[in-house]
């Protein structure tokens, strides 16, 4: 139904993927939404590392048989879409499930560069088709996609989440981009501070003021347990474990901020829907 794009301007560790993983996993557990994450990076293992540990048994025993299949992931889907097989239900055949009927991931880990070049052209179509089947489509926009493709993805988005960090250079870059890029001015935007450190002078309030945002920005704080879970493929367990958390717990701030951000996104989308 709605497309939400996570985008960051230029290089710099903004924690975009980690923030997206935290928000989508939280939403999938707490709300009854059908969510798809569309990863636009080339052969990216970050999502796989977040949700799964490599299953060596399967890869040894059934490697040969599993190969007896048409291409999977984004590459397979791109081929199907380019062959005009564009029913929304088809997308689910190429995704990996995190939570059944709740959270699915569309990514590629073994694509050829030539395939990726073709995939780039169909990201927009994939997102559009997926939005007919899923309640929420989250796009992780890679900086290397090229201006045209990035802009086309931002254009179809209902909500843009610019991923920022507490670095002055990143904030300045965002300010410049905001002034020059019309899409950022026209679309609904919620700036998000990734790997947030609450003790820094670049607090949510100060940053929001600096980047001239009327509403306060959101933040996903740095959390050791969460970032460890992102490496060990246990993000889903992490959120299930902290579903009900004691406010005095040291992880409470992280969960609280993820909750606030997720709810802000949902509220904003509902607001946009009301306006339409």
């Amino acid at each position: 139904m709605a497309i939400v794009s996570f985008w960051s301007n230029g290089k710099g560790e903004t924690g975009k993927t980690a923030s997206l993983v935290a928000i989508t996993t939280f939403l999938a557990i707490q709300h009854n939404y059908k969510i798809l994450i569309l990863d636009t990076k080339y052969n990216d293992y970050s999502y796989q590392d977040c949700y799964w540990q490599e299953d060596k048994t399967i890869s040894l025993i059934h490697k040969e048989r599993l190969q007896a299949n048409v291409a999977s992931g984004i590459t397979g889907l791109a081929k199907a879409i380019l062959s005009n097989k564009t029913s929304p239900e088809i997308i689910t055949n190429y995704t990996r499930i995190v939570f059944k009927d709740r959270l699915e991931l569309l990514t590629d880990t073994d694509a050829q560069m030539s395939d990726y070049e073709i995939n780039k052209k169909v990201f927009k179509d994939i997102a559009k088709i997926a939005s007919k089947y899923y309640d929420l489509v989250f796009i992780d926009i890679d900086n290397g996609l090229g201006e045209n493709i990035i802009n086309s993805l931002l254009e179809i988005s209902d909500l843009i989440i610019p991923s920022l960090s507490q670095k002055i250079r990143v904030l300045n870059n965002y300010l410049n981009e905001k002034e020059t890029n019309m899409i950022l001015r026209d679309k609904a935007v919620i700036p998000l501070l990734g790997r947030y450190d609450k003790n820094s002078k670049y607090s949510i309030k100060n940053v929001s003021r600096y980047i001239k945002e009327r509403e306060k920005a959101c933040a996903i704080p740095y959390n050791t347990l969460f970032f460890e879970a992102c490496n060990e493929g246990t993000v889903d367990d992490f959120f299930i474990k902290f579903r009900k958390i004691n406010p005095k717990d040291k992880n409470a701030l992280f969960i609280e901020e993820v909750k606030n951000t997720a709810e802000r996104i949902i509220y904003k989308l509902q607001e946009l829907q009301m306006r339409m």
Binding site: L60, K63, A68, N69, V70, G76, A80, L82, I90, N93
Partner: protein, 259 residues
């Protein structure tokens, strides 16, 4: 329980242990992957077509219940298998989308599994030595390159650009006729001086394999073009002086043009 029973139990247990170990060892030593034996004929079109037929058959007939997939994964695999089966059926009726889908799969199989590379692709079609290319090879390359730029208008563009829609006298024919000759194709190919990338070469090869396996042979690409139609008939019925096995193919271009 007496001593004999205990001893027998031990013997049975030891035997079972030895057997289990033997089977595990046997499975460990079993070859993991079936490698493709490479010889002089490996990269010929015939061998590759054979491989594609075998692989597509395997993909569509694989028993998914044997693989030990999860319920959800099994559902997805079944859906994809059904999609491929549908495409394999649809492409024989000339569905261009199904054709595209099947060709993509053939491309992947040749590139990722069969190991077709820049070096060995020339063993199937001699792309690097134009003098060895047959007229059909040249026409396939020409139509592929034009299709990249003009889509389904490719044939029309070739005919227009080289003014091929004119009446010509051909040896052995008393009356002039509309025809595109072998010599014309050779000449056009020389004039075009095309540079093909590996992807282009592989796509031409894929089309050749496809048209013999699932497509409409030499007219497969032509019939997809924006032309009035293609018709074929045995010359035996109309001109009995020609060999009975000879089949004539008519390409209807702008209603009155036949080649």
């Amino acid at each position: 329980m007496n001593v004999t029973n205990i001893l027998l139990t031990f013997v049975v247990l030891i035997l079972a242990g030895v057997l289990i170990r033997y089977f595990i060892q046997k499975n460990k030593n079993a070859p993991q992957e079936e490698t493709i034996d490479v010889d002089d004929k490996t990269y010929t079109i015939e061998k590759m077509t054979e491989f594609i037929k075998k692989r597509l058959d395997e993909i569509t007939k694989v028993n998914l219940y044997d693989i030990g997939l999860s319920e959800e994964e099994l559902k997805r695999r079944k859906a994809k298998k059904y999609e491929l089966k549908k495409a394999l059926k649809g492409c024989t009726y000339g569905d261009v989308n199904d054709k595209k889908y099947v060709k993509e799969l053939i491309y992947d199989l040749l590139f990722k599994e069969y190991g077709v590379t820049e070096v060995n692709i020339s063993k199937s079609i001699p792309f690097d030595i134009p003098s060895l290319l047959t007229s059909q090879d040249k026409f396939d390359i020409l139509i592929y390159m034009y299709k990249k730029d003009f889509g389904y208008e490719a044939l029309t563009q070739i005919i227009k650009k080289y003014n091929l829609a004119t009446l010509k006298y051909v040896a052995g024919e008393a009356k002039p006729c509309y025809v595109i000759t072998k010599e014309e194709i050779d000449e056009i190919f020389e004039k075009e001086n095309l540079t093909l990338t590996f992807q282009d070469k592989l796509n031409v090869l894929v089309q050749r394999i496809y048209q013999h396996y699932k497509g409409y042979s030499s007219i497969d690409e032509i019939r997809d073009m924006n032309i009035d139609g293609v018709s074929g008939r045995s010359i035996w019925t109309s001109r009995k002086f020609l060999k009975s096995s000879c089949t004539n193919r008519w390409r209807l271009f702008k209603s009155n043009y036949r080649t």
